[in-house]
Each structure stands twice: as structure tokens, then as C-alpha cells.
């Protein structure tokens, strides 16, 4: 039962968010490449550095923190709405009456699904963003394909990828727990489900940003 429910949640989160993740990442990668190139017009700095900077901004911030804020809106609100609806329509009471521990039955699969799916989406986002940077840089004549690929590898710090994953897992945990909390303890009617979902997103975003700062402070 738990496994089946976890898989269902993973499917909903992953497939449900894939399109928005790809679209957002594509434009983030393109924009950050153009803007970095625009700001770095100096004969002293080799042009491939643009690619290195794009790589760092993507892995360290854009494809994790910014993406997590987007996913807080997408996944967080849907988790809160799902649990809020179950609470208001007495489905949670029905579980309790059957003798099922509703908290672990409902929250655990969502948490595990988020911990697996969201870092996966982050990895996809990194790849899409860097690929779109590569496309934009080479097609608009900012630099050649070879220069971009060279810059991408130059001064590469593997720990930054680990840092990215640590952030991704932390933010997944925040999104799942905060959203589930607000949904599970919703009270009232249909209007309150909306309120719970909005609150879930707002709290997720704030807590993500706070942890973004704390992790940067601790680990970088």
C-alpha cells in the first residue's frame, strides 16, 4: 500500500512538474547567459569565463533555490490542497476509524516521493539550463561552441554539485513537510482549503530562503 502510494505521488510530482521545470530552466539558462555576457565586456576577461559563471549560478542557485520556489508553488500547493480536501471531506477521519495511522499513511509517501522526485527535477533543470545557455551562446555569437564547453569545464569544483544536491534534499523536505502540515490541519470548508494552500506556499518559500542562506553560510 505504502509503496503504491509513494509511486503514485512520485508520478504526480515528477510528471506533473516536468513541463514547467523544463520551460523555466530553459529560459533561466538563456537569460543568465545573455546577461552575464552583457556585463562581462572587458578585453581582460576571456569570453569562456561567461560559461563558467553560468555554470556556477545555475548549479548553486538558479536550478535549486529558484526552482524550489517554483516547485513550492506547484507541488507544495497541490500537497496542501490534497490533504486539506481529505481533511474537510472527512477522508482523514475515515482512515482513523479504520485504525490506520493517517499521519504516517498520508505524509510518509509524500515525503519520500518529494525527497526522490524534487532532486531529480533539480538535476534535469541544471542540464536543461546549461544546454540552453550553450545554445544561446553559440547561436547569438557570444562565443563558439568550443569556448562554451571549455568554460563549462574550467575551474569545476565537484563539491558544488554536492552542495546543490544537499540544498535540493533540504528544500524537498521543507516543501513536503510544510505543505503537508498546512493541509493536514486544515479546518472548515472549501475556502479554508484555499487558505491552507496559500499559507503552505508562503511558508515554504520563506523557509526555503532562510535555509538557502544558512546552508550557504555553513557550507560554502
Amino acid at each position: 500500500m505504502y509503496l503504491q502510494e509513494t509511486l503514485r505521488q512520485m508520478y504526480a510530482m515528477g510528471v506533473g512538474s516536468l513541463l514547467i521545470v523544463v520551460v523555466i530552466s530553459f529560459f533561466m539558462g538563456a537569460v543568465i547567459t545573455l546577461q552575464t555576457a552583457y556585463q562581462l565586456v572587458s578585453p581582460l576577461v576571456p569570453v569562456y569565463v561567461v560559461a563558467s559563471i553560468v555554470r556556477e549560478s545555475t548549479i548553486l542557485e538558479l536550478s535549486v533555490s529558484v526552482l524550489s520556489l517554483v516547485l513550492a508553488g506547484k507541488i507544495g500547493s497541490s500537497l496542501a490542497t490534497e490533504l486539506g480536501t481529505m481533511r474537510i471531506s472527512e477522508q482523514i477521519d475515515a482512515l482513523e476509524i479504520m485504525g490506520v495511522n493517517s499521519r504516517s499513511f498520508l505524509v510518509m509517501p509524500k515525503l519520500i516521493a518529494a525527497l526522490i522526485t524534487i532532486p531529480g527535477l533539480v538535476i534535469i533543470s541544471c542540464n536543461v539550463a546549461l544546454f540552453s545557455g550553450f545554445l544561446v551562446a553559440s547561436t547569438t555569437g557570444v562565443m563558439s561552441q568550443d569556448q562554451f564547453l571549455f568554460g563549462l569545464r574550467e575551474d569545476f569544483v565537484p563539491f558544488n554539485v554536492a552542495f546543490c544536491m544537499i540544498k535540493a534534499v533540504t528544500f524537498s523536505f521543507i516543501i513536503a513537510t510544510v505543505a503537508c502540515y498546512h493541509g493536514y490541519y486544515a479546518e472548515g470548508g472549501a475556502y479554508e482549503i484555499g487558505t491552507a494552500s496559500t499559507k503552505a506556499v508562503v511558508y515554504c518559500c520563506i523557509i526555503i530562503l532562510i535555509f538557502d542562506y544558512i546552508l550557504a553560510q555553513l557550507l560554502l
Binding site: M1, R8, T85, M86, S89, E90, Q91, D93, A94, E96, I97, M98, G99, V100
Partner: protein, 255 residues
């Protein structure tokens, strides 16, 4: 048998249940009636532990449910089936999966045995063949019938129904009421039903408790309920001018 011993419940300063005592026997449909807001749902939720009583006790066959640990309560709850006001079906599951859910969680049956049991229950509530539909695809009356099928799939000893016919047309209500009565007798369950529907009262009220202002104001059965001589109960039953006239004539006929 379920016994309530002087149960009380306050929400903030509002005293909803002011000490209710009652007994519910197996094989009988017991009704808790009263106006909206009189505390019927609170009473039912106190009985199953979804709301904790402030004082008093709920006894299941002599065992004090109110004083039990969570593990002990789970054991009792395996003998409890409950039908919620809106059905409370799991939206993400088909009808069949909904009814099979308790079996999947708690029984050691084989897949074939579970399927057989689910089909029996769906047949029992006249929903044979609707296995694959989803809650969003069926009517309110059908949802309640699925709710009943899910409630009885584990062969419970106790069945609770919160307003089983609110929001249903009179004919569908009657079907649901008769179904509840039938399975109560067949499975010898202790059944407690909340209702403010007078048709149900007359149709299936083996045992009736009338709640008024947080107290048990009257207790009896459907033979007695129309001429109880109880002022509050009469006001509840004969709410409209039309029904008051009906009652006046009824008394004349009886006399």
C-alpha cells in the same frame, strides 16, 4: 453493546454535551435525532474517539474505550464501520479500491478472497458491476452506498452513520435507510445513526434518542415517537403548521 456514561463535551465556553447516558443494543438501529447543531455529530465522534470526551466514558462491551491507549483503540476500531456524511470516499481510488482498502490494510486474505468479499459487499448495496468507476463519476446516493459497502467489508460489530440521508431525495433516502436496517439485523451489528429525517425515524427507529440542548430529552421507539407528549420533541417533529394540523387530526383519529 455500547454504553455512554454521562459524557460531556465543551468547545471553548460552549457546552455541547451536558452529560449524556445511553445504551445501544446489537441487532437494533438506534437513532440519535435532534435539530441541526444539537450535538449529534459531536456525540457520534465522541463515541468513536475522533473527539475526546471531557468527562464520562464510552464503553464497548464493557470495555472503557475512553481510557484506552491508541493501540487498544485501534483494536476496537477494527470492529467499527463508519459511514460519513459525504461518504468520505478516497478520491484517488476507484469504488472497488475504496471498498478493498480496509482489506488491503488489515486482512490476510488472498487476492481472490478479497475480490470475492468486495463483490459481495458491492452486491449487497446494489452496486454490482460498478467496480471500476471513480467517486467523481457517481451520484451522492451511490457514494453513500459505497461508503456503506466500505464500512461493512471487515464485518464490523459496530456501525455508525452520520446523517446517511442528508442531501438525498426521499426515495434514495429510503433505500439507504432500509439497507442500514437490513445489514444491522443480518450481521447483528450495534448500529447508531444520526439523523434529522422524520422518514428515517418512522422507518428504521427501533430505538430513538432525542437530543435537546445538550441533553437526552426523550428516549423511545418509532411506535411511541409521534405521541410522546414531550413538548420539545413535538416541536421538533411537527415543525410546520401543516404537520401540526396533521398531528391534531392524528390525535382525533387515535382518540
Amino acid at each position: 453493546m455500547i454504553e455512554l456514561i454521562d459524557i460531556r463535551k465543551k468547545f471553548g465556553g460552549q457546552e455541547v454535551l451536558k452529560g449524556i447516558s445511553a445504551q445501544f443494543q446489537p441487532g437494533q438501529t438506534s437513532l440519535i435525532i435532534g435539530t441541526s447543531g444539537s450535538g449529534k455529530t459531536v456525540t457520534l465522534k465522541c463515541m468513536v474517539g475522533l473527539i475526546e470526551v471531557d468527562s464520562g466514558a464510552v464503553m464497548y462491551d464493557g470495555k472503557n474505550f475512553s481510557a484506552m491507549s491508541i493501540e487498544e483503540r485501534i483494536e476496537i476500531r477494527k470492529d467499527i464501520g463508519m459511514l460519513f456524511q459525504g461518504g468520505a470516499l478516497f478520491d484517488s481510488m476507484s469504488i472497488e479500491e475504496n471498498v478493498m482498502f480496509p482489506l488491503n490494510m488489515f486482512s490476510k486474505m488472498t487476492k481472490a478472497e478479497k475480490q470475492k468479499r468486495v463483490d459481495e459487499c458491492l452486491d449487497r448495496v446494489n452496486l454490482a458491476g460498478k467496480n471500476k468507476l471513480y467517486p467523481s463519476e457517481i451520484s451522492g446516493g451511490m457514494k453513500k452506498r459505497v461508503g456503506i459497502a466500505r464500512a461493512i467489508v471487515m464485518k464490523p460489530k459496530y456501525l455508525f452513520c452520520d446523517e446517511p440521508n442528508s442531501g438525498l431525495d426521499p426515495k434514495t433516502s429510503l433505500i439507504i435507510d432500509k439497507l442500514i436496517r437490513e445489514i444491522t439485523v443480518d450481521l447483528n451489528m450495534t448500529t447508531v445513526v444520526n439523523t434529522h429525517d422524520m422518514n428515517s425515524v418512522m422507518e428504521i427507529g427501533d430505538h430513538i434518542i432525542f437530543l435537546w440542548q445538550g441533553l437526552k430529552n426523550w428516549e423511545g421507539n418509532n411506535q411511541e415517537v409521534l405521541h410522546s407528549g414531550n413538548k420539545e420533541l413535538d416541536e421538533f417533529i411537527f415543525a410546520s403548521e401543516f404537520l401540526k394540523k396533521v398531528k391534531a387530526n392524528y390525535n382525533k383519529i387515535i382518540d
